[in-house]
């Protein structure tokens, strides 16, 4: 038979659909790449460990359900084999579906997560801090596609200078785990980068499955360079997320996390210059003010003024001293004069000037009373002295007449 393509495909389809076992099957497998189109139809893959097959759920079936199968879920479907004529594509046409328990891959993930958690791979004390600034960053991802673009663009928004070493890997498939480990090994051996970013974009549970590989977990755990993990669209969703030092949802966030301190410190250091200057100027100004205040004191401004004041005081005091001394001396002087006069007045000789006379015996002793005359003289010679001379009396007669009580 020489058939056209269309005829050949149609023949195959008819053969398939004529088999009653193939038009009413119950199949259990894992869902992946589930996508609901605007047409209302849903397309997905149903798989087990060895095989995956395309499935279609037409809108009439889709609309019957409130919930649709989830990525990674194990489901049981009633379906019929179909061959999409236009493309010759083998597919299952799903007539109904129901969950068949947790997806097998997801179960596996949970088991591994438990194992590594108990073994301490995720412990906080094993996590490393990011360096204060990053100088060189290693990125393990595909050299094509949005991830590296996002990282570079975000980094450039934060910093003018970015230094990246890109270790290219395929981000899904059988070789991914080994390639990522080789990248980790490369960076850890060379010790040139400060941080390693391992990133890949969103995808199904199988697409991202390599990032649950034990090789990656072990290697990441041993890394002496801090690791930032950005796998899929969520953080903490894969074993690498758990064992990494930091886990973020997107490559953009990974770049922000790594380069933001550089941006911060760049502007901080620019300000610091100004700040330091201001502080020191302020202190200098304060010291200057203090100094000015001291200098403006009158003693500094006009030292002579102080002395002239003292001089003036001295002069005044000396004048006072002079004045007082003169007064004092004058006082003494008049006192002396006064005493002099008194003395003079008491001088027996001045009594003579007043016309009185003194009587004394020949030895010169004064006779001062009639009794003395009687007792001492008793007729002897005596002298009478007037202001102009003396007279000697001898051979005389005398008798006491009258007595005074002493009062004259």
């Amino acid at each position: 038979m020489d058939l056209s393509v269309s005829a050949a495909v149609k023949l195959a389809r008819d053969t398939l659909t004529s088999n009653p076992d193939l038009i009413n099957m119950t199949v259990t497998g894992e869902v992946s790449s589930f996508k609901l189109y605007s047409s209302g139809h849903a397309y997905f893959t149903l798989k087990d460990e060895r095989t995956s097959v395309s499935c279609v759920m037409f809108s009439s079936v889709v609309n019957r359900y409130e919930q649709l199968p989830e990525q990674g879920a194990q489901i049981t479907v009633r379906c019929r084999v179909d061959l999409y004529l236009q493309r010759g594509q083998f597919q299952f046409q799903v007539l109904s579906w129901q969950p068949a328990g947790a997806g097998r891959l997801y179960e596996q993930f949970l088991k591994m997560r438990d194992y590594y958690q108990k073994a301490g791979y995720f412990a906080q004390e094993n996590k490393q801090e990011l360096p204060t600034i990053v100088e060189k960053i290693g990125v393990i991802t595909s050299p094509k596609g949005a991830v590296i673009h996002d990282i570079v663009r975000t980094a450039r928004q934060l910093c003018a200078e970015i230094d990246i070493q890109l270790y290219p890997v395929t981000v899904q498939g059988e070789t991914t785990a080994r390639e990522v480990v080789a990248g980790l090994d490369f960076f850890n051996r060379n010790r040139e980068v400060d941080v390693i970013i391992i990133a890949r974009g969103g995808g199904s549970i199988e697409d991202l499955w390599p990032y649950n590989d034990s090789l990656i977990v072990e290697s990441a755990f041993r890394s002496v360079i801090p690791i930032v993990s950005a796998i899929g669209h969520e953080s903490d969703h894969h074993l690498l997320d758990y064992v990494a030092d930091y886990s973020v949802a997107t490559p953009t966030m990974a770049a922000q996390l790594c380069w933001q301190k550089n941006a911060y410190y760049r502007s901080y250091l620019e300000e610091i210059d100004n700040k330091l200057q201001q502080i020191i100027l302020r202190q200098l100004r304060m010291e200057q003010q203090h100094l000015d205040l001291l200098l403006s004191h009158s003693i500094i401004e006009n030292p002579r003024g102080v002395f002239s004041e003292y001089g003036r005081q001295c002069t005044e005091m000396m004048a006072n001293l002079d004045r007082n001394m003169n007064t004092y001396l004058a006082g003494l002087h008049s006192q002396v004069e006064h005493l002099h006069i008194c003395l003079e007045n008491l001088n027996p000789r001045s009594i003579l000037k007043r016309g009185y006379a003194t009587i004394c015996d020949f030895s010169g002793k004064f006779i001062q009373s009639s009794r003395e005359w009687q007792n001492k003289l008793n007729g002897k010679e005596f002298l009478i002295e007037w202001q102009d001379g003396k007279v000697k009396l001898s051979n005389y007669q005398s008798e006491i007449i009258g007595e005074n009580s002493g009062k004259v």
Partner: protein, 76 residues
């Protein structure tokens, strides 16, 4: 003029710098100390800035087989 020693790491340098700024802002130091701190602060700031400035602007891609680096152009 005393020379300041190389900081052990960026982290040490920046922490000391923040310490100095703090001390100066409080302003309890006398003039001589203030000036000494100011000089140390300027030295550290300059050192940190140089570290940042010394970052090269480059993206290199590793050849996994030969483990050497070459310039990488982002595909648009």
């Amino acid at each position: 003029m005393e020379k300041f020693s190389e900081p052990k790491s960026y982290k040490v340098a920046i922490e000391r710098l923040e310490e100095i700024v703090q001390a100066l802002e409080v302003g309890n130091e006398d003039l001589e100390n203030t000036y000494a701190l100011y000089q140390e602060g300027k030295f550290l700031a300059k050192w940190c800035q140089n570290r940042l400035k010394s970052i090269e602007n480059q993206i290199k891609i590793v050849d996994p087989a030969k483990e050497d680096l070459s310039d990488f152009e982002l595909e648009l």
